[in-house]
C-alpha cells in the first residue's frame, strides 16, 4: 500500500516536471514580453534595461533553473499587466474558483446520483424518461449557452438572481467566501448550476447504467433470496457497488470543472482564476498563463492521486491486489 502510494507520487512528480517545461517554453515562444510591457516611445537602452532586470538575457538553462526553483516556492514572477506577483494574484482569485467548482461538483454529484438511481429503479416512469431527455440536453448544449439562457430567464426576465459577479464576500484570513452572505449565495446558484450541469448529466447516465448492471448480478439476486428489504438491497448493496466507477469519473471531472470554469467565469464575470486567465490571454500576460497552467495541472495530478487511493478504500479487492503486487 505504501509502495503503491509512493510510486503514484513519483509518477505525479514526473508529470509536473513535464508540465513545468511546457510552461517555461511559453515564455520563449509566445513573443517578446518586453514589447508587451513598454510603450512605443521607450528607448532601446530602457528596453535592454528591462530585459536585464527581468533576467531575459541569461542563457535558457539558467532561466529554466531559476523558473523551476521559483515555481517550487510558488513564485511565478510578476504579471506584465498588473505589475503584481502572479502568486498573490492567483491566491486572491483561488477561493472564488474553488468555491464555485466545489459547489458545482457537489450539485452534480447529489443531483446526478439521485436522478441516476431513480431512473434505474423506476425505469419506466414518466419522470425517469424526462430525466433521460434532460440529460441529453445537458450533455449536448454548450456551457456558455446554458449560462446565457439561465441569465436571460432568472436575471433578466424574472429578476430573481444577479447576472454577474460574486456578491458580498466575507474574509476569513486570506480566504474570501461568498457562502456566508445572502447575496453571495444568490450569486453562486446560476454559475454553479451552469458549471455542474454537464457533470451532473454525465454522473446521472453513468449511475443509471451501472446500477442497472449491478441489479442484474448474482449477489443482488442472492441478497433478494436472503429476504433483505428492497431498501437495503438498492441503497446498501447495489448503490455501493455502483459508486466505485462513479468516484473515478466524478474525481477526474473535478479537475475539468476547475479547468473549464474559464467559460462559466467569463459568462458570469465571476472573479476567479479562469477570468484572470482569459484577461491574461487577451494581454499576452505570459507569467499568469504559465502559472495557471501549472496550477491546473497540479490540481489534476493531485485529484488523480487521491482518486487512485480512494479506490482502494472503497474496494477491498484492490487493497489486497495492490499489496500483493507491491
Amino acid at each position: 500500500m505504501l509502495a503503491f502510494t509512493l510510486r503514484r507520487v513519483l509518477q505525479a512528480i514526473g508529470v509536473m516536471l513535464a508540465v513545468g517545461v511546457i510552461a517555461f517554453a511559453m515564455f520563449r515562444f509566445a513573443g517578446d514580453p518586453v514589447s508587451q510591457i513598454v510603450s512605443i516611445d521607450t528607448s532601446a537602452a530602457q528596453r535592454a534595461e528591462i530585459r536585464r532586470s527581468l533576467g531575459l538575457d541569461d542563457p535558457v538553462l539558467v532561466q529554466f533553473g531559476r523558473y523551476f526553483i521559483n515555481a517550487l516556492q510558488f513564485k511565478f514572477g510578476v504579471s506584465y499587466q498588473f505589475r503584481l506577483p502572479v502568486s498573490s494574484l492567483l491566491a486572491e482569485r483561488l477561493p472564488a474558483t474553488l468555491e464555485l467548482a466545489i459547489c458545482a461538483t457537489v450539485f452534480a454529484m447529489v443531483a446526478g446520483i439521485l436522478m441516476g438511481v431513480y431512473s434505474a429503479l423506476r425505469r419506466d416512469t414518466v419522470l425517469a424518461k424526462l430525466f433521460q431527455a434532460v440529460s441529453l440536453i445537458g450533455i449536448s448544449l454548450p456551457t456558455f449557452l446554458i449560462g446565457i439562457l439561465l441569465i436571460y430567464l432568472f436575471a433578466v426576465t424574472l429578476g430573481w438572481l444577479p447576472s454577474f459577479g460574486r456578491g458580498e464576500v466575507v474574509k476569513l484570513g486570506w480566504w474570501t467566501t461568498g457562502l456566508l452572505t445572502v447575496s453571495g449565495l444568490k450569486a453562486l446558484i446560476m454559475p454553479a448550476i451552469t458549471l455542474g450541469l454537464f457533470q451532473m448529466t454525465l454522473i446521472m447516465r453513468l449511475v443509471r447504467a451501472e446500477m442497472l448492471e449491478v441489479l442484474r448480478t448474482d449477489y443482488i439476486r442472492f441478497a433478494r433470496a436472503r429476504g433483505l428489504t428492497t431498501r437495503a438491497i438498492h441503497f446498501g448493496h447495489a448503490l455501493k457497488n455502483t459508486l466505485v466507477p462513479v468516484i473515478t469519473v466524478a474525481g477526474l471531472q473535478f479537475g475539468s470543472v476547475i479547468a473549464f470554469s474559464i467559460i462559466t467565469e467569463t459568462v458570469f464575470q465571476w472573479p476567479g482564476m479562469g477570468l484572470l486567465f482569459v484577461q491574461a490571454v487577451q494581454n499576452v500576460d505570459i507569467p499568469i498563463m504559465a502559472a495557471y497552467l501549472l496550477m491546473v495541472s497540479l490540481i489534476f495530478v493531485t485529484i488523480n492521486l487521491v482518486v487512485d487511493i480512494l479506490y482502494t478504500v472503497v474496494d477491498p479487492r484492490l487493497r489486497s491486489t495492490i499489496s500483493r503486487a507491491a
Binding site: 448474482d218 449477489y219 439476486r221 442472492f222 433478494r224 455501493k240 489486497s320
Partner: protein
C-alpha cells in the same frame, strides 16, 4: 401422513415475450416432507431452476406464475404481496445458488452480510447476531470463524465461499432449503464436502431440501427422492433407489443409461437421440415423443398424466392401466 413442508400443485410458469407466451413450467406437482431431500434432475432448460425460483417467489417479469398452488407448511405462498413473500425468503426458505464466486457482495465483509441477514429476520442485537454468525460459520465448517468473519469474499476459496453462502441460507433456520446446482461450479473434491454438509444440515435441523442438479452422482448419494424433469414437466418422480435402479419413463431410462460406471467399461454409453425442444416448439402430446424409442400414436396427440406405479409416479402412456371399457 404428516403435512409436507413444501407442496407444489399443478405449477405453471409463463414468460410473456413480444412474440408469444412461453410456458416454462407446465403442471408440475410434488411434495417435500420434513427432513427429506428431493433431487430435481433434467437437462438444461428443463425448468429445474425456474421451479426453485417460483417456490421462493423470485420469478422476475416478464415471467410469472400463471397457475397452480405452492404451499409452505400448509400456507399458500404463491401470489403473496411482495413484502410478505420477502419476509418468507431467507427466513422460512433459504436459497443457495450455483456460483459461490458471484453470490456474495464483494464490497462487504462476509460477517456483515450474515449479520445483516440475521438482523433482517430476527430481533437479535448487533453483538448477539455476530455471535450467531460465528456459530454459523463454525457449523458450516469454516476454520477460525471468529477471525474469518471479518474477511472479504475474495479472501475465501470457492468451496469456502459456498460454505459462507450456505451459512447465509440457513441463518434463520428455514424449513426449506432450495439448492440450485450448489456444486456445479466447484472442484470434485470440494463437491463431496459441500454435499455432505447440506445433507448433514438437513438431517440435524429437520430441514426439507430441494436439490436442483444435473449430476446423477450427487442425486444418488444425497437424495431421498428424485424428480426427473423434461420440458417443464415432471416425467418421473419416486424414491431415489427405485428411479436410479429401475427407471420407468423412457426419458429417465435414457438418462440413467447415460451415466458412466466403472463396472461397465466395455459398454458404450447410451445416448438419447436429438435434443430437448425449445420452449417455443414443444410438440403436441408428450413432449418427449420425437425422441422416444417406444413412441406410439397416442403419444403424439394426448399429453400423459402422472400415473402411480408402486412408489414411483410416471407420466407416460406406456403405463396406462388397460381401459376397462372398450369404447
Amino acid at each position: 401422513m404428516t403435512q409436507p413442508v413444501l407442496s407444489v400443485r399443478n405449477l405453471e410458469v409463463e414468460f410473456v415475450t413480444r412474440r408469444a407466451t412461453l410456458r416454462a413450467i407446465n403442471g408440475v406437482s410434488f411434495d417435500i416432507a420434513k427432513g427429506e431431500v428431493l433431487g430435481v434432475v433434467g437437462e438444461s432448460g428443463a425448468g429445474k431452476s425456474v421451479t426453485g425460483l417460483a417456490v421462493i417467489g423470485l420469478i422476475d417479469p416478464p415471467g410469472r406464475i400463471s397457475g397452480g398452488e405452492i404451499e409452505l407448511s400448509g400456507t399458500r405462498i404463491d401470489h403473496l404481496p411482495p413484502e410478505e413473500i420477502r419476509r418468507i425468503r431467507g427466513k422460512r426458505i433459504g436459497m443457495i445458488f450455483q456460483d459461490p464466486l458471484t453470490s456474495l457482495n464483494p464490497l462487504y465483509r462476509i460477517g456483515d452480510q450474515i449479520i445483516e441477514t440475521i438482523r433482517t429476520h430476527t430481533n437479535l442485537s448487533e453483538s448477539a447476531a455476530r455471535r450467531r454468525a460465528i456459530d454459523l460459520l463454525a457449523e458450516v465448517g469454516i476454520p477460525a470463524p471468529e477471525k474469518r468473519i471479518d474477511g472479504y469474499p475474495h479472501e475465501f476459496s470457492g468451496g469456502m465461499r459456498q460454505r459462507v453462502v450456505i451459512a447465509l441460507a440457513i441463518c434463520a433456520e428455514p424449513e426449506l432449503i432450495i439448492a440450485d446446482e450448489p456444486t456445479t461450479a466447484l472442484d470434485v473434491s470440494v463437491q463431496a464436502q459441500i454435499i455432505t454438509l447440506i445433507k448433514r444440515l438437513g438431517r440435524d435441523h429437520g430441514t426439507a431440501v430441494m436439490l436442483v442438479t444435473h449430476d446423477m452422482g450427487v442425486i444418488a448419494e444425497t437424495c431421498d427422492r428424485v424428480a426427473v424433469m423434461y420440458s417443464g414437466r415432471i416425467a418421473e418422480i419416486g424414491p431415489v433407489q427405485e428411479v436410479v435402479r429401475n427407471p420407468l419413463h423412457p426419458y429417465a431410462r435414457g438418462l440413467m443409461g447415460a451415466i458412466p460406471t466403472l463396472a461397465g467399461e466395455d459398454k458404450r454409453l447410451v445416448q438419447i437421440p436429438g435434443s430437448m425442444p425449445r420452449l417455443s416448439a414443444i410438440p403436441a402430446g408428450c413432449p418427449f415423443n420425437p425422441r422416444c424409442a417406444f413412441v406410439f400414436d397416442r403419444c403424439r396427440v394426448e399429453r400423459p398424466e402422472p400415473i402411480r406405479q408402486g412408489t414411483q409416479s410416471v407420466a407416460c402412456h406406456l403405463f396406462e392401466p388397460a381401459k376397462e371399457t372398450a369404447a
